[in-house]
C-alpha cells in the first residue's frame, strides 16, 4: 500500500517574535473524536494524517487559546498558521505623543513655595481629620489649581496623578490612558500614586532599567477597580505569562514559566518578568528545582524585593537563617512589584519555622498596610500611601 496516497499532510506553523514562546508553546492536534493525535512545538511541523477533520489548538502570545478545524484530504497538504495579527495590540506602540502629565505633589509644593519633593512613599502629610487613605495635600493641590491648568494633571475626569518614583515620564495618551517611560538609573521598585475618586492609590509598576523593553508600560484606567497595566509587545514572554495566568490557562503558563524564568533574568535582562515566572512556579509547587536561578535573581537584582521573597521561600527549609534574613530585608516595606510576592511574604512570615519573634513583629509592622492592600490586583496596590497612617 502506498501510504502517501491514502494520507494527507497537515502543516502547522507557529510564529512569534520570541523563539522561547515558539519553542515552549504546545500545540494539540486532535481527531474527530477529540482523541489526542499529537502535541507539537516549534515553528513548523508536518504531520501525515488519515483523511478527515482535525482540530488544532495553540495558545497565542496574549494568552488566548485559538482552535482551528482543518479538513485533511488524501494526497493533499493543508496548512495552519498561528501568528500575531497586524490588527492586534502586539505591534509596538508608537512613541508617546500625548501630553505630559504633571504631578499634584509639585503643585502642592509650588503653592507652598517649597521645592518639589518626590521622596519614596508618599510626599503627602495626612492631615488631621482626613479619612484614611486620602491626602489633604493632594485634595488641596487639586483645589489650588486654576481650572485651565487642571487638565495637565488629570488622567481622566476623576483621576489625578499625585506622585511617582524618580525618573518616570508619564504622558496622557487619551482619556484614562497613560504611557510610562522609566528613565531612572537607580535600581528600585517603580511606582505611581493617583488620586481617584478622592482616594489615594499607590501602584507598583513592572519596570526596570535593564533593557529598553523593560522601561515602558501603559496604564488604562477604566470605570472601576485597579488600572490595567499593559506591557510593550517586545516583552513577549512576560506578556504571555501574564495573559495566561490572568485567564486561568495554567498548564501552558507553568510550562512557559518553567522554560523561561531563568532566561528572563539572565539573557533578557527582565528581572520583573523572571520574578513573575518564579512566583507562578512557587504558586504551583515547582520552584524548588529552580533554586539556582532564584539565587542568581536575588543576587544580581538585590533591589527587587520579589526576588528576595522567592529566595526566602526556597531557603525556608534548606537554610532558614539565610532565608529569614532575605525575608526580613524584603519586607521592610510593603512595596513589592507583584501582589503575589507580598502575599507570599505574609504567608512566610506567618508560618516561618522556628520564628524567634522577628516574623511576628514584622507582621505587626506591616498590618496597617496589609489592611489597605488590594489583593485582587496582580500588581502591588495599596489604598492610601504605603507609609500613610
Amino acid at each position: 500500500m502506498n501510504l502517501a496516497a491514502v494520507t494527507g499532510t497537515l502543516v502547522v506553523r507557529y510564529s512569534s517574535g520570541s523563539m522561547l514562546l515558539t519553542g515552549a508553546m504546545p500545540i494539540e492536534v486532535r481527531d474527530r473524536h477529540h482523541a489526542l493525535v499529537r502535541v507539537v512545538t516549534g515553528p513548523e511541523t508536518r504531520l501525515a494524517l488519515s483523511p478527515g477533520l482535525y482540530s488544532v489548538t495553540a495558545i497565542l502570545e496574549n494568552g488566548e487559546r485559538d482552535t482551528r478545524v482543518v479538513d485533511v484530504q488524501s494526497g493533499r497538504a493543508e496548512s495552519i498558521e498561528f501568528a500575531v495579527s497586524a490588527g492586534e495590540v502586539y505591534l509596538e506602540r508608537a512613541i508617546a505623543r500625548g501630553a505630559p502629565l504633571r504631578r499634584l505633589v509639585d503643585a502642592a509644593a509650588a503653592s507652598r513655595g517649597s521645592a518639589t519633593a518626590t521622596a519614596p512613599g508618599s510626599a503627602f502629610e495626612i492631615g488631621a481629620g482626613a479619612a484614611a487613605g486620602t491626602s489633604t495635600a493632594t485634595a488641596s493641590g487639586v483645589a489650588l489649581l486654576p481650572p485651565g491648568q487642571r487638565d495637565a494633571y488629570a488622567i481622566d475626569a476623576t483621576t489625578w496623578l499625585a506622585a511617582s518614583s524618580p525618573g518616570l515620564e508619564l504622558t496622557r495618551e487619551g482619556d484614562g490612558v497613560v504611557e510610562i517611560a522609566h528613565h531612572a538609573e537607580a535600581d528600585e521598585v517603580a511606582w505611581i500614586e493617583v488620586l481617584r475618586g478622592g482616594e489615594l492609590i499607590w501602584l507598583a509598576l513592572p519596570l526596570s532599567r535593564h533593557s529598553d523593553e523593560a522601561r515602558r508600560c501603559t496604564l488604562r484606567f477604566g470605570a472601576g477597580g485597579a488600572p490595567r497595566i499593559e506591557l510593550p509587545a517586545a516583552r513577549r514572554v512576560t506578556r504571555a505569562l501574564h495573559g495566561m495566568i490572568e485567564s486561568g490557562k495554567l498548564g501552558p503558563a507553568i510550562e512557559l514559566a518553567d522554560h523561561s524564568a531563568a532566561l528572563l533574568a539572565s539573557k533578557y535582562q527582565d528581572p520583573i518578568g523572571a520574578a513573575y515566572g518564579g512566583l507562578m512556579l512557587q504558586r504551583f509547587g515547582a520552584l524548588d528545582r529552580h533554586a539556582d536561578w532564584v539565587e542568581n535573581l536575588a543576587r544580581d537584582f538585590a533591589w527587587l524585593p520579589d526576588g528576595q521573597i522567592l529566595l526566602a521561600a526556597v531557603l525556608a527549609r534548606r537554610d532558614p537563617a539565610r532565608g529569614l534574613a532575605a525575608l526580613l530585608d524584603a519586607t521592610r516595606t510593603p512595596c513589592t512589584v507583584f501582589s503575589d510576592a507580598f502575599s507570599l511574604a505574609l504567608s512566610l512570615l506567618r508560618r516561618w519555622p522556628g520564628d524567634d519573634g522577628r516574623c511576628e513583629a514584622r507582621l505587626a509592622e506591616l498590618a496597617p498596610a496589609t489592611a489597605r492592600y488590594d489583593f485582587s490586583s496582580p500588581y502591588a496596590t495599596l489604598r492610601g500611601a504605603p507609609g500613610g497612617r
Binding site: H34, V69, L250, R351, A371
Partner: protein, 395 residues
C-alpha cells in the same frame, strides 16, 4: 452521624470496603448565631458588623448533591460524604440533601466541624490512593491572596476565647494535609465572602481558628481554589447559590470538561487546569455583570501541579444550536450534519433554529437551500458546554 453517603449514594456506586475511595467534607454556613441578625447577637458580633448570609448553606448542599449523583471516579468511588450546614430561612437547600442534614448534628459549629474533620482525615489516611474533596462556604477573612479563614456558625460566642475559636483556618488545613501518608489527590474549594479591609485587619491579630498538625513529605497533588468576593452582595444570589458554586457546578457539568489527554487521563475529564480556566472566566464575568470584582486564586501543593477531579463515563453529549440567517430562508433550507464523510447523522431536526444534541466531536454542517440563497457549509468543533452558531445563506 454526619456522613450521609450510605443514605444518598446507591451501594453499587460507592467504594467497596478496603478499596481506594473518595472522601468528601462539605460545609456551608449561612446562619451565624451570634452575628447581626442572629438569634443570640453578641457584643462582638455587633462590633464586627457581619450579618447572615443567604446562599452558603444552599451552595454546600448543591455541591453535596453533585457528589452524590454525578461524581465519577472508577478508581476511587465516593466512600464518605460528610455534610455540615447552618442554613437560614433564605437558603434554598438541595431537595435530595436537605432531609439528610436536618438534624442538629449537621450544624456547622466548631465542635462538630472539628469532629467531622478528624473523621475525614482518618478516612483519607487509610490509603494514599484515596481522593479528598473539601468544599467550605461562608463568611471569610482573607488575610493574603492565598489565605482564608472561614467563620463557623458559633463564631463570636459571648465569653468564648480565643476570639477565632469559631472559625477554621482552611489554608492551614490544606497545608497540613499535604503529606505523604494521606489521600494522594486532594481538591479544596474555599468559597468565602471576604470582609472589608478594616475588619480583616482586626482579624489578623486574632487566634484560635481550627488548625491541624503539619507532617513531613508531600501529597501527590493538592489543589486549592480560593474565591473571595469583594462584597457580600456579590457573594451569592439570595435563595440561590454563590457565584463560585455556580461556576464550579457549571464547570463540572460541562464548561470544564476536556477530552482524553494521555498520560494524564484516558477518559473525558475535568482537570485542575480546565477547572481553573472555567472558574476564572465564569466568576469574573458574573461578578463583573454585577459591577463587582471577584477573583479565583488557584494554587497547589504536593508533587504535581495537575490532577483530575472528575471523569465522565463516556464522551459527553453536547447541545448544538444553529440559527439561520436570514430567517426567511427557513422554508427552503435543510441541514445535514456529517461525522464521517458520506454518512449523515440521522434524525436532524427540520425546524429552525436547529437544536440537537450530539456526542462531542468534529462534524461538518451543510445547508442545502434554493435561489436566491446560497449553500452553506462549515466544520463544527462540538465541545462542552455547547455550540451556538449562525449559518448565513444570504445571497
Amino acid at each position: 452521624m454526619v456522613d450521609i453517603v450510605a443514605r444518598v449514594v446507591p451501594a453499587e456506586r460507592r467504594a467497596g470496603a478496603g478499596r481506594p475511595a473518595t472522601h468528601a467534607l462539605v460545609i456551608g454556613v449561612s446562619a451565624y448565631r451570634h452575628l447581626l441578625g442572629g438569634p443570640e447577637e453578641s457584643p462582638t458580633g455587633r462590633a464586627w458588623q457581619l450579618g447572615q448570609l443567604s446562599s452558603a448553606a444552599g451552595s454546600a448542599t448543591a455541591v453535596a448533591a453533585w457528589l452524590a449523583a454525578e461524581y465519577h471516579n472508577p478508581a476511587a468511588p465516593l466512600g464518605s460524604l460528610r455534610v455540615l450546614v447552618s442554613p437560614t430561612a433564605n437558603d434554598r437547600l438541595d431537595p435530595r440533601i436537605a432531609p439528610e442534614v436536618a438534624a442538629p448534628e449537621h450544624r456547622a459549629t466548631r465542635d462538630r466541624v472539628e469532629a467531622a474533620f478528624a473523621a475525614f482525615m482518618a478516612d483519607c489516611d487509610r490509603d494514599v490512593e484515596n481522593v479528598a474533596i473539601v468544599y467550605v462556604a461562608g463568611h471569610g477573612v482573607q488575610l493574603t491572596k492565598h489565605e482564608a479563614t472561614v467563620l463557623l456558625e458559633d463564631i463570636a460566642a459571648p465569653g468564648v476565647r480565643p476570639s477565632l475559636r469559631g472559625a477554621i483556618d482552611l489554608i492551614q488545613c490544606h497545608s497540613g494535609m499535604d503529606h505523604a501518608a494521606t489521600a494522594g489527590t486532594q481538591f479544596w474549594f474555599v468559597d468565602a465572602c471576604r470582609q472589608p479591609p478594616e475588619i480583616a485587619a482586626a482579624f489578623a491579630a486574632m487566634k484560635g481558628a481550627y488548625q491541624i498538625d503539619e507532617l513531613p513529605g508531600a501529597a501527590r497533588s493538592s489543589q486549592c481554589f480560593l474565591s473571595a468576593s469583594t462584597l457580600q452582595q456579590s457573594f451569592g444570589r439570595p435563595g440561590g447559590h454563590t457565584l463560585f458554586c455556580e461556576a464550579l457546578l457549571r464547570g463540572l457539568r460541562g464548561a470544564a470538561v476536556c477530552p482524553p489527554t494521555p498520560p494524564l487521563c484516558d477518559a473525558w475529564h475535568v482537570s485542575s487546569y480546565s477547572l481553573s480556566e472555567a472558574l476564572t472566566r465564569h466568576v469574573a464575568d458574573q461578578a463583573g455583570e454585577a459591577g463587582e470584582v471577584q477573583t479565583v486564586h488557584h494554587f497547589t501543593r504536593g508533587l504535581s501541579p495537575q490532577a483530575v477531579l472528575h471523569r465522565l463515563p463516556g464522551p459527553p453529549r453536547v447541545d448544538l444550536t444553529v440559527r439561520l440567517a436570514p430567517p426567511d430562508a427557513a422554508p427552503v433550507t435543510t441541514a445535514s450534519v456529517y461525522f464521517e464523510s458520506g454518512s449523515p447523522v440521522p434524525d436532524v431536526p427540520v425546524a429552525w433554529p436547529l437544536v440537537m444534541q450530539l456526542e462531542a466531536g468534529l462534524y461538518s454542517l451543510a445547508l442545502d437551500t434554493q435561489q436566491p440563497y446560497r449553500r452553506f457549509s462549515r466544520p463544527i468543533n462540538l465541545l462542552p458546554p455547547g455550540v451556538e452558531l449562525e449559518a448565513r445563506v444570504a445571497p
